[in-house]
């Protein structure tokens, strides 16, 4: 049993819904009690979809248990088939139905419908949403393409002379982070390379389209957590090669183009010679100097977290101080990536752990999910969202992909937006006593942090005690509170024989912007300890600053 306050991923059947809702002509019969229909609003509200997810919930109740839940399932299945006339159906159980073991697969088979029916076994008590989506896509593909698979040992027939090079885009689903726009962007790039997209799946595909996946020359896995399992099977069944570079950021997009060109056997130099994104110049322009070495914490699904780390380090000149994911299935890839930045990856789906690490690292920018946006807001740290879980704001009306050259432009704007510009930051640093400068507003967006105290708090302080009412009442006192906490900390240290802050040094410390103050305090104390000092004076403070200068 795991104590959870917020969860990064839904249960696996929500993953199956992401596939079903992305597609057309597919219907999902989910054996589930009343209440599980909440998942519909993820699609109709968060993603603003204009139709109901194609899901029939059997809606069994306590009084049905042990008597006729199987009958309810069969009736729901038949009536859904008759009403929606789908090309194919998915059947499965939600967490509660899994416990009552009605065997939807067997029941569905007994109905003998004249369409393909794909039974899903998605263990709710072990697995989560992305895995559920991946498995659903894989089983659907296997069922629909299986009959056309090449016999063992057979070579893939060569493409006819003059026929266009074709590929599939695998992985985009409903409720994905910018999937819709990524598909458009990648299709444009492929278009410029004279490559035709055979099928995009699951997004907007019909089961009949999925049945044609084997016809393409190769596959592109856009989101490994959703498409990799299917791509591996297609490699075996149709000997289709796979492009695995995720084209997020300028560098990755260029590697992606190179990889596609190699597999397709075409020359794409014209795509690489010209600079097709504004990011490189924007980053090199003198105005961006203030981005140099900004300490950034990154957390999200594996695909977006790994890509964000590369873009942050190589294309923004940030320093990656933390990298992690909630996706245990891809933990190895994230651990690998973290090594490049000399870090140990944070692999957890407990958002309290993520919060602790952010508090400890004092980053200047957080790139994360909606969870990290909440954490950053509480701490008063600028934040940009790079990955699901998503919020209605993550479906902007404008075109805003993450992938490709336009995606790099979008990323530049999105990540810089929450930060102060260089000169603003300097003014704030120089004239800290100006009463109109708010100590707690590190962003020009005007969001006041509700309570800045946690940044400076000792890690043992309960993170959960800041309720709305408390936060509102105490907001003006937040800084005082932080100072009091800091004092308490100092007192504890005094008991342990650690250095004491002279009043003058303590006052100077407060002139340092609050979001780096905790770090300055710790560095100075550590420095004083190594020097065997008992009192921290103004000089100690500046000696430490010089010592730790980067």
């Amino acid at each position: 049993m795991q104590l959870t306050l917020w969860t990064y991923e839904g249960p696996p059947h929500v993953g199956a819904m992401r596939v079903a809702t992305a597609m057309k002509g597919l219907h999902y019969v989910l054996h589930a009690p009343q209440g599980d229909t909440y998942a519909d609003l993820l699609f109709t509200m968060i993603e603003r979809r204009n139709h109901r997810p194609p899901v029939t919930y059997t809606t069994f109740q306590a009084r049905d248990l042990g008597s006729d839940t199987a009958v309810i399932f069969k009736e729901a299945m038949l009536s859904a088939y008759e009403r929606f006339k789908p090309q194919a159906m998915l059947v499965g159980s939600s967490c509660t139905a899994e416990l009552i073991q009605d065997d939807p697969a067997g029941l569905a088979k007994a109905l003998n419908l004249p369409i393909p029916v794909v039974p899903l076994e998605l263990p709710s008590y072990q697995r989560k949403e992305n895995w559920g989506a991946s498995e659903t896509f894989y089983h659907l593909t296997r069922t629909l393409c299986g009959p056309k698979a090449l016999p063992p040992g057979a070579e893939r027939p060569a493409r006819a002379d003059g026929a266009p090079v074709t590929c599939n885009l695998l992985g985009p689903t409903a409720l994905g982070f910018r999937h819709r726009d990524d598909v458009t962007e990648i299709t444009r790039i492929l278009d410029a390379m004279d490559i035709t997209v055979n099928v995009v799946a699951p997004l907007d595909a019909t089961p009949m389209d999925v049945a044609c996946l084997g016809e393409a020359d190769f596959n592109i896995v856009m989101y490994p957590e959703l498409g990799e399992t299917t791509a591996k099977w297609l490699e075996r069944a149709f000997r289709q090669p796979t492009v695995r570079t995720v084209p997020i950021g300028v560098g990755a997009t260029k590697r992606f183009i190179t990889e596609v060109a190699e597999i397709a056997g075409i020359d794409a130099q014209h795509m690489l010679d010209r600079e097709l994104s504004r990011l490189p110049w924007y980053s090199r322009s003198i105005d961006s100097t203030y981005l140099t070495g900004k300490r950034v914490f990154i957390f999200g699904d594996a695909t977006h977290a790994i890509a964000a780390a590369e873009v942050a380090a190589d294309e923004f000149g940030f320093q990656v101080v933390g990298l992690g994911t909630y996706a245990r299935e891809q933990a190895r890839d994230v651990r690998e990536a973290a090594k490049r930045y000399g870090l140990e990856a944070l692999i957890t789906d407990d958002y309290l752990e993520v919060e602790d690490q952010i508090a400890e690292l004092h980053p200047e920018l957080v790139l994360g999910t909606q969870m990290e946006r909440h954490i950053a807001k509480r701490f008063g740290i600028p934040c940009a969202v790079i990955s699901a879980p998503v919020h209605v704001h993550d479906y902007p009306a404008r075109y805003s992909p993450q992938m490709g050259f336009e995606g790099a432009n979008v990323i530049f704007d999105t990540w810089v937006h929450p930060l102060m510009m260089g000169l603003e930051e300097h003014l704030l640093g120089m004239f800290r006593e100006d009463f109109e400068f708010n100590d707690q507003t590190p962003s020009h967006l005007g969001h006041k942090p509700e309570n800045a105290a946690p940044v400076d708090r000792p890690t043992s302080t309960p993170a959960l005690t800041q309720d709305l009412d408390v936060a509102v009442i105490q907001r003006p006192q937040a800084d005082m509170q932080a100072d009091m906490q800091a004092d308490a900390q100092a007192e504890i240290k005094t008991d342990a024989g650690a250095p004491v802050w002279a009043a003058e040094a303590e006052k100077e410390l407060k002139k340092i912007p609050f979001f780096v103050r905790g770090k300055a305090r710790r560095n100075t104390e550590a420095f004083a300890a190594t020097q065997g000092l008992t009192t921290i004076t103004l000089d100690t403070l500046y000696d430490a600053k010089a010592h730790f200068a980067r």
């Binding site: 049993m1 104590l3 917020w6 009536s79 008590y125 509700e450 005690t465 309720d467």
Partner: protein, 442 residues
């Protein structure tokens, strides 16, 4: 899969008089009810936690359930919660199911961790879910065990918000019912007292407090209280008024402890609020002149406020999908005070006794439905082509995309709508989607 049937419910009404409610017909009292059973597009009772955890300021709600439960509450709450929540989920995993871990020990560990992080918590609800019910995890024993360990600092209670047993607002009913045995007994010679039952917005509670004081009705307490320690006393001299129509179990538990329910319409709209206050005034023998003098200013204000919206709503055809059980009283308000033409009033559960005053006032000729088969109901809705549909979040955008104006029903649960001062706001909630359609030229 629906065993749709018109079944006439012919139970006679307990009281023959229609009180102050105009012409003496019986409204919908004897109207047939379309009972449906099929796919339900409604939340389960866990969702009540979203408002209950704000109402009782020192309570924490720990759902013992699956990842789905955690995801449900956070999705339902996601757009509304800006502060740290006082709810969480102890997620059952395969080790608990396979018997590799003792589920009770695991639960105790979760509770220890939680309470050590939140020393401010005085009352902890263990909330049962579909999975915990199906595996028969005995949360009442767990609550007793944990209470023994943590009293007097923390009182641990339990109730079920599972979807196999509860629909949306029934979660609040189950929660309040679990509080009733904890309420102290009133003194043997206690004066007659009044409990207002059902979570209300704090501002509404304060308005009612003032009105009762001016009327000379008291002492008055509220269930749930804002703080766990403030549970009202109960006994044979207690009278209670239901502020919400979905509190069947809570009412029964209070009656078992000797309290008597005052039959009344629900305090929605000017008329409903007056009838509701009147029920208390009668029990306290308040003179009619006093009642009139005290309520007149607020009644006039309510009528003035409603009048702003009446033109926009007059004659509009309205269709309610089932959601919160608030549908019949709100429909009554819209029909009688705003001139709305009701096409179908759907409700998850129709409690005839608690709604007896409401049913009398509902205009004849509308379609009353209980339960749901959502596809069939959508068919009826499209055929009826109403001017406005009241429905849940899963249906609203799809219906809007079909060109049908909608009002999210969840807003009726999350907005202060009770009492005189909110009567205009309640009407405005229904005017807004129509107004918006009128404004948009895209």
């Amino acid at each position: 899969m629906s065993d749709t049937a018109y079944s006439l419910d012919t139970r006679p009404e307990a009281r023959g008089t229609a009180g102050s409610n105009g012409p003496s017909n019986n409204g919908c009292t004897d109207a047939p009810v379309l009972k449906e059973r099929g796919q339900r597009e409604v939340f389960c009772g866990l969702t009540g936690i979203v408002w209950m955890h704000r109402k009782i300021q020192d309570a924490f709600f720990l759902v013992v359930g699956s990842r789905t439960c955690a995801h449900l509450i956070q999705s339902a709450a996601g757009v509304m919660i800006f502060a740290e929540p006082r709810f969480g989920t102890a997620i059952i995993d395969e080790r608990d199911l396979a018997g590799l871990a003792d589920a009770n020990e695991e639960l105790d560990k979760c509770v220890e961790r939680l309470l050590s992080r939140r020393p401010d918590i005085k009352m902890l609800f263990l909330v049962g879910s579909c999975p915990s019910e199906v595996i028969k995890l005995d949360l009442s024993r767990a609550a007793q065990r944990l209470s023994r360990r943590h009293m007097p600092d923390v009182r641990v209670l339990n109730y079920s918000g599972s979807g196999i047993e509860t629909t949306f607002t029934q979660g609040e009913d189950a929660c309040l019912a679990s509080l009733v045995p904890e309420m102290p007994a009133e003194a043997a010679n206690a004066d007659q007292s009044l409990i207002v039952v059902g979570a209300l917005a704090d501002v509404v509670e304060d308005q009612f407090r003032r009105l009762f004081a001016m009327l000379g009705i008291g002492p008055v307490t509220f269930l749930p209280p804002r703080r766990a320690a403030d549970l009202p006393a109960v006994g044979p001299n207690t009278r209670f008024l239901l502020a919400q129509p979905f509190l069947a179990d809570t009412a029964r538990s209070l009656e078992e402890r000797g309290a008597k329910r005052l039959s009344a319409p629900f305090p929605l709209g000017e008329e409903g609020t007056t009838g509701w206050l009147e029920a208390a005034a009668q029990a306290w023998n308040i003179p009619a002149e006093t009642f009139e003098a005290v309520t007149r200013p607020a009644r006039e204000r309510a009528k003035t406020a409603i009048a702003h919206y009446r033109d926009a709503l007059q004659g509009k055809r309205l269709f309610f999908f089932p959601d919160s059980q608030l549908e019949p009283p709100i429909a009554r308000f819209l029909a009688r005070e705003c001139g709305v033409d009701l096409v179908e009033v759907g409700t998850p559960f129709l409690h005839r006794e608690h709604l007896s005053e409401e049913l009398k006032m509902l205009p004849e000729g509308l379609r009353l439905s209980e339960g749901q088969d959502v596809d069939l109901q959508l068919d009826r809705c499209r055929a009826d082509a109403p001017d406005l549909v009241v429905c849940g979040l899963g249906l609203a955008n799809p219906l809007e995309a079909e060109g049908i104006a909608t009002k999210w029903s969840i807003e009726l649960v999350f907005t202060p709508i009770h009492g005189y001062e909110q009567a205009g706001d309640l009407a405005e909630l229904f005017r807004r989607p129509l107004d918006r359609r009128g404004r948009l030229k895209v």
